[in-house]
Symmetry: D2
Subunit: 269 residues, 4 copies
Amino acid sequence: MAKSKFEYVRDFEADDTCLPNCWIVVRLDGRNFHRFSEQHEFKKPNDDRALHLMTKCAQTVMQELEDIAIAYGQSDEYSFVFKKKSRWFKRRASKFMTHVVSQFASSYVFYWKDYFKDQQLMYPPGFDGRIVLYPSNQNLKDYLSWRQADCHINNLYNTVFWMLVQRSGLTPVQAQDRLQGTLAGDKNEILFSEFNINYNNEPLMYRKGTVLIWQKTNEVVTKKIKLPKEAEEKEVEVTRTRTKVVPLHCDIIGDQFWEEYPEILAEDS
Amino acid sequence: MAKSKFEYVRDFEADDTCLPNCWIVVRLDGRNFHRFSEQHEFKKPNDDRALHLMTKCAQTVMQELEDIAIAYGQSDEYSFVFKKKSRWFKRRASKFMTHVVSQFASSYVFYWKDYFKDQQLMYPPGFDGRIVLYPSNQNLKDYLSWRQADCHINNLYNTVFWMLVQRSGLTPVQAQDRLQGTLAGDKNEILFSEFNINYNNEPLMYRKGTVLIWQKTNEVVTKKIKLPKEAEEKEVEVTRTRTKVVPLHCDIIGDQFWEEYPEILAEDS
Amino acid sequence: MAKSKFEYVRDFEADDTCLPNCWIVVRLDGRNFHRFSEQHEFKKPNDDRALHLMTKCAQTVMQELEDIAIAYGQSDEYSFVFKKKSRWFKRRASKFMTHVVSQFASSYVFYWKDYFKDQQLMYPPGFDGRIVLYPSNQNLKDYLSWRQADCHINNLYNTVFWMLVQRSGLTPVQAQDRLQGTLAGDKNEILFSEFNINYNNEPLMYRKGTVLIWQKTNEVVTKKIKLPKEAEEKEVEVTRTRTKVVPLHCDIIGDQFWEEYPEILAEDS
Amino acid sequence: MAKSKFEYVRDFEADDTCLPNCWIVVRLDGRNFHRFSEQHEFKKPNDDRALHLMTKCAQTVMQELEDIAIAYGQSDEYSFVFKKKSRWFKRRASKFMTHVVSQFASSYVFYWKDYFKDQQLMYPPGFDGRIVLYPSNQNLKDYLSWRQADCHINNLYNTVFWMLVQRSGLTPVQAQDRLQGTLAGDKNEILFSEFNINYNNEPLMYRKGTVLIWQKTNEVVTKKIKLPKEAEEKEVEVTRTRTKVVPLHCDIIGDQFWEEYPEILAEDS
C-alpha cells in the first residue's frame, strides 16, 4: 500500500491561477430553478421569501469567505466580486468557484425555514457557478450594469406577463403572444392603463435587485464591567464599530453609487 | 438601460472545456472540517453518522448529475469520476466542479438530521473542489489507488492515536510523540499488544473507504392492475430492473475489483 | 534601478504545462504561402524544391529539439508529435510551439539556396503554430490520418485543376467551375480521359505527403588510426550505427505502417 | 479516405484566447545563444553587429504583424507589446507567440549577412517565446522597467568582467571571483580607477537597450507626374507622411518617456 507509487497522479492537476490585478467575479445561478420555484409555490413574478433567502445566503458567503468587495443579486443568480489584489488561496479559480457555490448551497438549505416557514423544502437544490476576470474598474462596473439592466428587463416583462395571467386571465401562451415585440414603453403603458400600476412605484428590490456592500456600523452594546474601587459589576453602554454586510436596492449603473462608495473600487481595497 | 451596451463583458469569460477522451475527476473536501467535527462532537477516529451522511450526499450527486461512472470517499473527501466520453455541459470544467460541490453541500444540510438526529447542525458547512483529467485507465486507477492508500495510512494512524488518547490517557501531544517515526508494522503492534486490537478486523468502511458504483437491481414491487374481464383491481407482484448507486467497502488497488466490474472502465461507457 | 521593485511582474506569467501522458502535437503552417509561392514561382500543383525544403527544415527541427517521435508534412504544413512521456521543458506549451516554429523558420531561410539555387528568396517568410493534445494512440493515429486524408483530397483537386489550366487553357475560374461538385471518381476520370494520367501513378510524395521517423542506420566511415607499433597512421573502415531522421512517403492511415514501426507508439518511447 | 471520419480530432484543440483589455507581451529569447555567440565570434561584452541585427528583426516583426505598440530589446531578447484592444487573430495566444518568433527567426537568417558580412552563419539559430498579460498601464510600464533594469545590471557586470579579462588578463573564473559580492558602486569604481572608464559615458544602446516605437516621419520623395497641358512628364518633390518603426536608446523607467509619447498607452491605441 505504498502511497508514493501512486502519487505521480498529483502532477496531472493543472494550475488555474487567476491573472493578478484583475477583479475576479464568481456568478452563481440556481439549477433548474424554474421547476424548483413551481414545486415550492414561489409567488410570481417575485417571491419575497425566496429573494430574501438568496440575499441571506450571499451575506453568509461574504462573511465566511475572504476578500469579497461587493455582490449583486437578482432572481436566482448572485455575483460575487473579489478584490483585484486578493491573494486568497493563491487566486486559484477552482477554489473561488467551489467555495462560493458550496457555501451558498449549504446556506440555502440551512436558512430555508427562516424564510419559508411551513413550506417544506422538498429536495436539496443545485447551483452552478462560473468565474470571469475584469482588468479595469470600468469593465467591472459594466459587468454589474449588465446584470442590473438584465434585472430591469426581466422584471418589467415578468410584471406585465403575470398581471396578464393573474388578473386578465390570459393563458401563459396568450400573455406571451401579447407581449411579443413590445418595447419597454409599451409594457409600462399596459401596466398603467390596464392594471393602474405605475411600474416606477414597484418595490426597488424587484426593479433594481440587491447590492451587498461592507459598511461600518456603530452598535451600542451593554457590557458588564467591574470598576476598580467598586465591589459590584456595573452595566455600561459601549459603542462598538463593526463592519457588516448591508443590502441596498439602488441603481449601480449611474455614477452616483460609485461616488458615494469610492472605497469599493479603491486601488488598495 | 440598454443592456446591449454592456454585453461586451460576456467576451471576458474564458473557455474551460476539458480535453476530450480523458477521465474527469472532481474531488471535494470539507472546509475546516477539523473544527466542524469538534463542534459537532464527531466520534473519533471514525463517526459512522458523518461517514454515512457523506455517502448519502455522494449518492445524491451521482443521481442528480450526469455521467458519473464511479465515486470514492473517505474521511471528509469524495472523488467523482465522469466518463471519458461525457459531453455533459460541453465538458466545461466550471460546470462539473460547481454542480458537484453545490449539490453535495445542499444535500449535507438537507440530510443531516437523518443521520445526526438530535445533534443540531450549528452552521452551514463549506466544501472546496478541484478538477483533474486522467488520459488513461491506468492513470485513473492509480488516482483511486492513491486516495485509498491515503485512507489506509490515515486511518491506521488515527486508530492508534485515539486509542492512546482515549484508553491510555495520553495527551494528543504525547500520542503524537509516541507515533513519531513509527512504521505501519509498529502501529499494528501497538494496537495488538496494548489494546488487543487486530487492525485487520476493524470495519472495512474505516479501512477501505467507500466506493460508489451503479448496479442493476431487481426490485419486486406490488402493483395494482385491472384485468380486462374482471371488475376489481388486483394486486400483482412485478419485478422491476433499476440502476442504483450502491456503496461498497472493498479494495480497489488490486485487479480483482476492476475484473469484477469491467463496465466501469469500458470504452463506450 | 532596483530590479526587485519590478520583479512582481513575473507572477503574471501563466502556467501552460501540458497534461501528462498525452501525445503533444505541434502543427505549423506557412503564413500567406499562397502569395509567397506565387512570388517565388513555385511549380504548380507541386514544387519539388519547396517540398524538399520543408522536409529539410522538419528534419532539422527533429534533430535540434528533444522527444519528437514522428512528423508528418504536406503542402506548406508540418506536424510534429512529441512523445507522451516527454518532460522536455516541463511540457510547457509555449516552449514546444515557439521552439518548433522558430527553428523551422530559421532553417527555411538557411537552407533555401540548397533547394532553390538561383531563385532568390525575396523576404523572410512567417509561420504559425498551434498545439493539440491527444490522450490515446488511436486519437493520435486519427489525427495523422486526418492530415493525410487532407493531403490526398487537396492533391487530387490541385492535380486536375492545374491540368485544366496548364494543358486545357481554362482560366482558374473556369477550372474551378468545372470541378464544382465533382467526386474523387470524377476527378480521376477527367485526369485519365482528358490527360491520360493515372492518378495512382503520380509521385507518392505528392499523394501521401512525407512521414519523418527515426531509423537506425549503419554507416561505413573511414577513420585514421595509429596502431601501437607502427609509425604511420593507417586508414581503416569502421561501421557506425546512428539514428537518423528518415523521410517516407507511405500510407499511415492503414494498420501496416504502425505494425512495421511499433516503436513509434510504444509506451516507453 | 473519408476525411470526415477523422475530423473529430479537431475538437481536441483548446481555446487559448487572451483576456480582453490587457496588454499582451510576447518575449523572445535566443536559444543557446551563449554557445552561438562564441561560435560566431561576437565581440564581448557587446557586439554591435548582433545588436543591430536583433533590432532589424524586431522592426520586421512590428511591420509584418499587426497591433504591436512598442518593443524593447537587449542582449539576445526582445519583448513585443500588443495593444490592449487588439483583435488580431481573435487574440489567440498561440498565434501571437508563433508569428512573432517565426518572423524573427527567419529574419535573423535573412538579414544576417547585412550585419555580419564575411562572418558566415554556421547553422540556423532557435528562439523561444512566452506570452504574458498585463491588465494595467502601470503593470506594463513595470514590466518594461524590469527588463531595462535587467539590461543595466547585466551590462554593468559584463563591462567590468570583460575589462578584467581582456585588459587585466584575469581568467574568467578570477574575474568572477573578483566581482563576487560587489555592488553597482564598486563596479563603477573598478571601471574608473582601473580602466579609466566612466560607465555613464558608455554607449546608450549598451546601457539602455533598444526601444522600438512607431513614429510619423515626413519624407521628401521625387515623383514623376504628367501635368494636363504638358507633353512631358515632370519631376516634382512631394512630402509623404509615413509611419515608421524607430529605434531609441533612452530611459523608459522614469516618467519622461511616457509623457513624451503618450500615444503608446492611449486608451484607444
